[in-house]
């Protein structure tokens, strides 16, 4: 294989095609196959230039026409399998250079022993990676000077490619800008790590005819309406229905949050298509010429993620709004005493509606009290809410005021945005006997 490629094009291709090989899962692999898992397969054909990599959780494939207009000049067709991190690291330093990649094959392939891997349990499992040659990398920039380096090239047939043509039919199509916007608004609500991979996933669910993206850590939930979604497969996305006591759960898809966030950051195509392989628990994303396969939890566990209809089906009434800057300032002060939870006492007053924020701690700090003005307060309400939960949503909403809504039972609080009506945020109240005397005052 021999080709000349623009540095920018190569980086672009590696960011997408080598995403799996560069992921933490691949880079932390200690098995006998780690050299292969951490490698990216590059195929230079006369018509196509393909970059692909894969792990059990994530597989990615990026393809582009190999034309000079696209910055690719294939002089000799072929395939190489080279360490992704090293290639990416080197290529990212060759600013605006033209890069030449050429494979020099060994006469006899060399077997690299990888039996020292932590998961190698004996000769029956011992594997060896076949080195077939060296990938010579030469860069040359506008000054006609550059850098040379070599990387080991392994046998590409040792790494099987994912056949994306077998992906099931798409069930929904979203504009990549809205996906990115939605993720910005919801992803902060998910847990960073859940060993069951339920609450560190983003859910796609249909409710009342619309499709929503939601994230939750079980105590709070951010929901974003994908109103620009098209080609929704309504047969697939059945809706949750309750008849008396029995509930029939609708179909939803759980997608690992960390991978989806990475994809949305660099997705350039106009649309992202999502399809779901229920038998193999895989989600496929198709972003123009970039194909992604993500592993998801077993569909039987999907309903461990609470359905959005639980929240959206509940009636919330307007409570009032607090100027965002003042609210954030008061919460920062209160968190000096108790960074977990504070009591919000909304009260109507002839002089002006306000909220008093009480922070009481178990650690022996003196209680902290602050107040803030409330616009259009509807009624007096007292509730204990999580400090971080309110501060997080205040960061996300674009409005000048944070608009609160509460249900009749006051078991949760809803925050809505006038600037972006697609966003809804819910947080549960906290039972804390330390604040009980405030409630008794009533």
């Amino acid at each position: 294989m021999k080709l000349a490629i623009d540095q920018k094009v190569l980086i672009n291709a590696l960011e997408r095609g080598a995403m799996a090989a560069l992921s933490d899962e691949a880079q932390g692999d200690t098995s006998s196959f780690h050299k292969l898992i951490q490698s990216v397969k590059i195929t230079a054909g006369k018509t196509n230039f393909i970059v692909e990599s894969g792990t059990s959780l994530l597989a990615t494939k990026w393809s582009i026409d190999s034309t000079k207009e696209n910055g690719i000049d294939v002089k000799e067709e072929g395939t190489v399998l080279v360490p992704a991190k090293e290639l990416m690291g080197w290529a990212s330093k060759q600013n605006k250079a033209k890069i030449v990649l050429s494979l020099t094959k060994l006469k006899v392939p060399e077997l690299l022993k990888t039996g020292e891997g932590a998961t190698d349990y004996g000769s029956s499992q011992a594997t060896s990676v076949k080195k077939i040659g060296t990938l010579k990398m030469i860069s040359r920039d506008e000054s006609k000077t550059g850098n040379k380096w070599n990387l080991d090239c392994y046998d590409p047939s040792q790494q099987s490619s994912v056949d994306f043509s077998k992906a099931p039919d798409k069930v929904i199509q979203i504009t990549s800008t809205q996906l990115s916007e939605a993720l910005k608004n919801v992803a902060f609500s998910s847990q960073s790590k859940d060993y069951e991979h339920i609450f560190d996933s983003i859910v796609v669910e249909r409710y009342d005819g619309k499709v929503y993206l939601a994230a939750s850590d079980c105590h709070r939930c951010s929901i974003y309406c994908l109103d620009q979604a098209t080609e929704i497969d309504e047969k697939f996305f059945t809706q949750t229905e309750s008849k008396g006591q029995s509930v029939t759960y609708g179909q939803k898809i759980l997608i690992p949050s960390v991978f989806l966030k990475n994809v949305s950051k660099i997705a350039e195509g106009p649309e992202v298509s999502i399809s779901y392989d229920k038998e193999n628990n895989k989600v496929y994303l198709d972003v123009d010429n970039w194909k992604i396969r993500l592993a998801t939890v077993d569909s039987n566990l999907f309903n461990k993620f609470p359905t959005v209809s639980l929240l959206m089906g509940k009636k919330y009434n307007k409570l009032g709004s607090i100027p965002k800057g003042i609210l954030t300032n008061r919460l920062i002060s209160a968190s000096l005493v108790n960074k977990a939870m504070v009591l919000f006492s909304f009260s109507k007053d002839a002089k002006g509606d306000s909220v008093i924020i009480h922070a009481i701690s178990e650690s022996g700090h003196a209680p902290n009290v602050s107040n803030a003005p409330v616009n259009h307060l509807v009624k007096d309400v007292k509730a204990v809410w999580g400090v971080q939960h309110i501060m997080d949503v205040a960061k996300v909403v674009k409005d000048d005021d944070v608009n609160f809504m509460v249900p009749d039972d006051l078991r949760s609080v809803k925050v809505v945005s006038n600037e972006d009506p697609n966003l809804q945020y819910y947080s549960m109240v906290i039972d804390n006997p330390k604040y009980a005397h405030f409630f008794e005052e009533n």
Partner: protein, 414 residues
């Protein structure tokens, strides 16, 4: 499914504690489980976790781990656990082993009074997985092992259970995990041989037991075992030393035998061998349990001085006991060679009586038997001891030396 008890306090062995938590999570999987650390998270954060309502789950369990040894946290937890309800359950797990359990004294006073406070609540359950067994505590560890096997419908007698405990060590989680592994392949009744062949050795004496047991059988078994231990990486020096130790103990047995002692007396003598103080262990008039108690007392210098002067009548000016120069006590106190456990003494006696003497009885008359046996034991010891030197200082013929040692040891004839 029965309702979950709460609050639950899990203490003792960490590995068994983890198993208990995993089992509880499986059993009460209709609850939403949240884990908090009492060390890394503040009391406010723990209170928040307990007080939070959650979406989609009506019932919750708060698992509190890493309890620090701090009064403030103890008081906080005692208060928090009172908020137990049908929908909110608590499991407190001493995952860092802060609550030390002394094998003799039990739990210390501070923690015990905290536990007593928790006990006042209805529904409180204490899961005490216990700590390690004391070195001299055989009865409890044997019972513990027998119970574990019984749970898995296996029978094990006291002798086999004791060998098992000796091989694995007196650590609860090691014993529990080894029982589970052994039960995968074990027959309904476990024999000493099965234990010796299949138990993974973890204590330092385990190789000695296993290899020693094989040596006492016959030449082919002994050679096969020798090869096996060499293959799994046991150093030739270690194996040679085991054979020499055995031949030395064997020599002592036949020395006593040649003096006309019966097998029971020989067993008691070799068990007393090397034990301090000799004036107690070799006193024929003291019964065995009294010897043990007395020797424990006499390990103290003042007690020993009193004993020597008042009981044995040695004048005080004959004794020159220097006080230690520094407060540091050397760990490497040189002591006489002892047979580690009674089980080993039984093995040695059985070999001498049922293998060596039995083979020679028909060929030698009663007068010849005892001196000839001593001669054989001397020959075996000297050969083994010479070969040990070869093994230590020459690397070329180690295998040959070991084979020679095994050959002379397994040849019973005088």
């Amino acid at each position: 499914m029965s309702d979950m008890p709460s609050p639950v306090l899990i203490l003792g062995d960490t590995k068994l504690g983890k198993d208990t938590v995993v089992k509880a999570k499986k059993k009460y999987n209709s609850y939403y489980w949240e884990t908090v650390s009492a060390t890394k998270q503040s009391c406010d954060e723990i209170r928040m976790t307990a007080g939070f309502q959650q979406f989609g789950y009506s019932k919750k369990v708060v698992l509190i781990t890493e309890i620090p040894n701090r009064k403030q946290v103890r008081d906080f937890l005692a208060d928090l656990l009172q908020s137990t309800s049908d929908k909110l359950k608590f499991v407190v797990w001493d995952s860092e082993g802060q609550i030390k359990i002394d094998p003799k004294k039990g739990i210390n006073k501070t923690w015990q009074s905290w536990i007593n406070e928790l006990k006042k609540q209805d529904g409180f359950v204490l899961v005490n997985n216990g700590g390690d067994f004391a070195e001299n505590d055989s009865a409890d560890s044997i019972k513990y092992v027998q119970k574990l096997f019984e749970k898995r419908k296996r029978k094990i007698d006291n002798v086999s259970a004791r060998i098992f405990v000796d091989l694995v060590g007196k650590n609860r989680s090691m014993l529990a995990s080894e029982v589970v592994k052994l039960c995968l392949t074990s027959p309904e009744t476990l024999t000493p041989n099965f234990i010796l062949d299949n138990t993974f050795p973890s204590s330092k004496e385990a190789v000695l037991y296993k290899f020693g047991n094989d040596l006492d059988k016959d030449y082919p078994t002994a050679i096969a075992s020798l090869e096996n231990f060499k293959n799994i990486g046991i150093n030739a020096n270690v194996l040679a030393q085991i054979i020499v130790n055995k031949s030395r103990w064997h020599l002592i047995i036949f020395h006593l035998y040649s003096q006309g002692l019966d097998w029971t007396s020989i067993r008691n003598e070799i068990l007393g061998m090397g034990k301090f103080p000799s004036c107690v262990w070799h006193n024929d008039q003291l019964p065995a349990p009294q010897k043990k108690n007395l020797s424990v007392n006499l390990n103290d210098v003042d007690n020993l001085r009193t004993f020597m002067t008042r009981k044995l009548g040695i004048p005080e000016n004959y004794l020159e006991i220097e006080p230690p120069k520094t407060k540091t006590v050397s760990k490497a106190v040189k002591r006489g060679e002892v047979i580690p456990l009674p089980f080993m003494a039984d093995m040695m006696i059985n070999y001498a009586r049922d293998y060596v003497v039995k083979h020679n009885k028909s060929k030698l008359n009663n007068d010849e038997l005892r001196p000839k046996m001593l001669e054989r034991a001397i020959r075996v010891y000297l050969t083994c001891s010479d070969n040990l030197k070869q093994v230590r200082y020459s690397f070329e013929d180690q295998s040959e030396c070991l084979n020679e040692m095994v050959k002379v040891w397994t040849n019973p004839y005088a």
